[in-house]
């Protein structure tokens, strides 16, 4: 697969995001593993929508934080971890966007096609795998962002509410520009 150049619309990069956790990745990864296992237990049917793509690796690239996320949504061999930007591991597809846009997708408040039309979401690699992942995540009962926040109790929910407000403000600013 060819490397994915940054889009001029998706500028940002390390250090450009006020909520970027200063955690070393080895501290973050056990939390991510816990999150993905909890989501899998809560939504066992979601994997059916992935078909053969459940074995694929997805690189999720929030362009305005210092690391990327590496996901294999295989219920038999779940994998979800943070990876550095310098040497992205092999992946079937890459999904790039601003952190808050990706968050609102997981919160089922944003439409993926609309973000794609506005070029705020960039997809490269296996398009079918990405479409299947999108459909699987969109069909879960409770929004994934909410389930993750709930895992961390009141501080988690407060953080999600703060991020939702930030996303809403970003959306308003974008609307005012266009």
């Amino acid at each position: 697969m060819t490397p994915d150049p940054q889009s001029s619309r998706l500028s940002g990069g390390p250090g450009g995001f006020p909520f970027a956790p200063p955690l070393p990745l080895f501290l973050l990864n056990p939390i991510l593993r816990r999150i993905v296992h909890r989501i899998a237990v809560q939504n066992p049917d979601m994997f059916d929508r992935l078909g053969p793509h459940r074995h694929a690796y997805f690189l999720i690239d929030p362009v305005d934080i210092p690391f990327m996320l590496y996901l294999r949504p295989d219920p038999e061999a779940l994998d979800f971890r943070a990876v550095g930007r310098r040497n992205p591991p092999p992946h079937a597809a890459r999904i790039s966007g601003k952190f808050l846009d990706l968050l609102t997708l997981m919160d089922t408040e944003q439409d993926g096609d609309a973000l794609f039309f506005s070029r705020d979401l960039i997809v490269t690699g296996d398009t079918e795998a990405v479409v299947c992942l999108r459909n699987a995540l969109d069909d879960v009962d409770d929004p994934i962002a909410e389930s993750v926040a709930d895992m961390f109790g009141p501080p988690g929910r407060a953080a999600l509410n703060a991020l939702r407000r930030a996303a809403e403000n970003a959306q308003k600013r974008k609307g005012a520009k266009t």
């Binding site: 619309r9 078909g51 089922t108 439409d111 070029r119 960039i122 997809v123 079918e128 069909d139 879960v140």
Partner: protein, 335 residues
């Protein structure tokens, strides 16, 4: 003027979660389909298993919402069994209607399930009184979904001439081409929109990005568009592709443009024309889209029926290419 009939709001669902969102947002009916070639949105990871359909119908009916099942593709000659099985299943699950395009499927419903409503799909492309009367007379069709090629005054004239209900699209993808007859995807990918149910299947689509931020859309072996770094994008379908041709300088949208239908300002005229149902396109879209669009049109229709000025939510962010048109409803020369 005759008393206005309140039109039903017909809303899309590609997943059970989207169906629940549509019901909760005030849909009068939801249309959805199975995970096979009987469905003209037969995309991977989308649509309903029989078990999901059963639960979803129950959820919809509990909320006072009807479920219309899309069996709106054309069976290849002599291979109609799958379509018959899906009709049997839909009747057993308590569907409120089947949306069909093919006369063999319509005949099967007429002969075996006379109480199951037949809605004629837009894929049948029936727009003349003679064509529609044929479907009503021969198959007992109760409603026709009109192709997106008619002006409001033409629709009004048609409503007065035909013995069935009329449904028109009011929002969503505007890939009208020759509805039910389009073979462009078949030409490039080997799969038929009309018989396999998949226009531009995702497995045949690739997006390539260049260092300057531009993006190329590839379908099969063909590049069908290239968007500049600051340009909005559209769906990867040939009918929305931009091509070089001798008659024009630069890229040219030879068939259609990346643009969505938005008839929100024309709702009062459509209601006055006697349209019985308004259809929102977008079974391939997320539940966020379903929630926002259905809620916006629910409020607009209710306001109009209450004699108030409708509040029209700004839906342009959800439109293809972030552009919208009133299409042929406003003028035959919409392009």
């Amino acid at each position: 003027m005759n008393a206005m009939v309140k039109p039903e709001l017909i809303c899309p669902a590609g997943t059970p979660a989207a169906l629940r969102s549509a019901v909760d947002a005030g849909a009068d009916a939801v249309y959805c389909g199975y995970q096979n070639a009987t469905n003209a949105r037969n995309f991977v990871g989308l649509n309903f298993t029989p078990e999901e359909m059963e639960k979803s119908i129950r959820y919809a009916h509990d909320g006072g919402t009807k479920v219309l099942i899309t069996l709106n593709t054309f069976p290849p000659a002599g291979k109609v069994e799958l379509w018959k099985e899906m009709v049997d299943l839909s009747a057993r699950l308590g569907a409120d209607a089947c949306i069909v395009a093919d006369i063999a499927v319509a005949a099967y419903i007429r002969d075996n399930y006379p109480d199951l409503r037949i809605h004629l799909s837009v894929q049948a492309a029936a727009s003349s009184p003679e064509a529609i009367e044929y479907y009503v007379r021969e198959f007992g069709v109760k409603r026709v979904v009109l192709p997106r090629i008619m002006t409001i005054s033409e629709i009004k004239g048609l409503v007065q001439e035909i013995p069935c209900e009329v449904e028109t699209f009011i929002f969503g993808n505007h890939g009208l081409m020759v509805e039910g007859r389009c073979s462009l995807t078949n030409y490039v990918t080997g799969q038929s929109t009309n018989m396999d149910g998949a226009c531009s299947p995702a497995a045949c689509v690739k997006y390539e990005r260049a260092a300057d931020g531009s993006m190329s859309t590839i379908l099969g072996d063909y590049m069908i568009d290239r968007f500049g770094p600051e340009e909005t994008a559209g769906y990867p379908t040939i009918c929305k592709g931009r091509y070089k041709c001798d008659a024009r300088d630069g890229g040219y949208y030879a068939f259609e443009e990346p643009i969505s239908l938005n008839a929100s300002t024309m709702l009062p005229d459509l209601i006055s024309a006697g349209v019985h149902a308004f259809k929102i396109e977008g079974r391939q879209r997320s539940r966020a889209y379903v929630k926002k669009v259905v809620a916006a049109f629910r409020e607009a229709v209710d306001s109009i029926m209450a004699g108030q000025e409708p509040k029209l939510a700004d839906l342009v962010a959800l439109t293809e290419g972030q552009k919208q048109t009133e299409g042929a409803l406003k003028t035959k020369k919409w392009r």
